[in-house]
Symmetry: C2
Subunit: 123 residues, 2 copies
């Protein structure tokens, strides 16, 4: 397994799903998952998806600038760190954002999101 390839595939899948079918992100979170979105904490798959689907913008497009990844320890997890631009439909300027994911392996050989922290950078 090439960690960079896994990270890039995850990032591609995550933001494509976010921009086209946000509720579909439920497949990536579990009950232990945590989201901190602009400083607001949410825990558990259902609460996280409720948060993400109720954000004050309905349509958006993420454009990724950088993806960095590192293994996170003996449990087989991976840190994925993303920077990019978030274009809200109808808005003139894109917003810069940074986001980190801590992915943990599932028994099925896939990954789920244990930690998710999102911040706008107010460029």
């Amino acid at each position: 397994m090439d960690p960079d390839a896994v990270a890039k595939a995850f990032v591609e899948h995550y933001y494509t799903t976010f921009d086209s079918n946000r509720a579909g992100l439920a497949n990536l979170y579990q009950e232990s998952s945590m989201l901190t979105f602009e400083g607001q904490n949410t825990q558990g798959c259902q609460s996280i998806v409720a948060k993400l689907t109720s954000l004050p913008f309905q349509q958006c497009q993420h454009a990724i600038t950088t993806v960095d990844c590192q293994p996170s320890g003996p449990a087989g997890g991976m840190i994925v760190f993303v920077s990019g631009n978030l274009q809200l439909t109808g808005e003139q300027h894109a917003l810069k954002f940074s986001q980190m994911f801590h992915l943990m392996p599932t028994p099925q050989g896939s990954f789920y999101v244990l930690n998710d922290i999102f911040r706008l950078n107010y460029a």
Copy 2:
């Protein structure tokens, strides 16, 4: 232990040390530690400190805008996510940056940095 208080204390200590005595950051890394600085990977305390002390700016000042933290799993680790401004001495404009740390507990009851990823946001 209040995770938010630990995260804030770590962040205060880290950037104060970075801005005043960068080589002193050696106390925060171990042999398993990883740094990705603007996409460049370094591993191990000695290599990381060599990287940080050889950056093309000698004097700088970090100003922190946000600090988010989450527990990272059963091993007692913690994710710390920082955004802020980096002012290089002699430069007119500050640079925006984002940085994440994955802190792991030491047997002495302290923490070391297992994962460190830094990115400028080019505002």
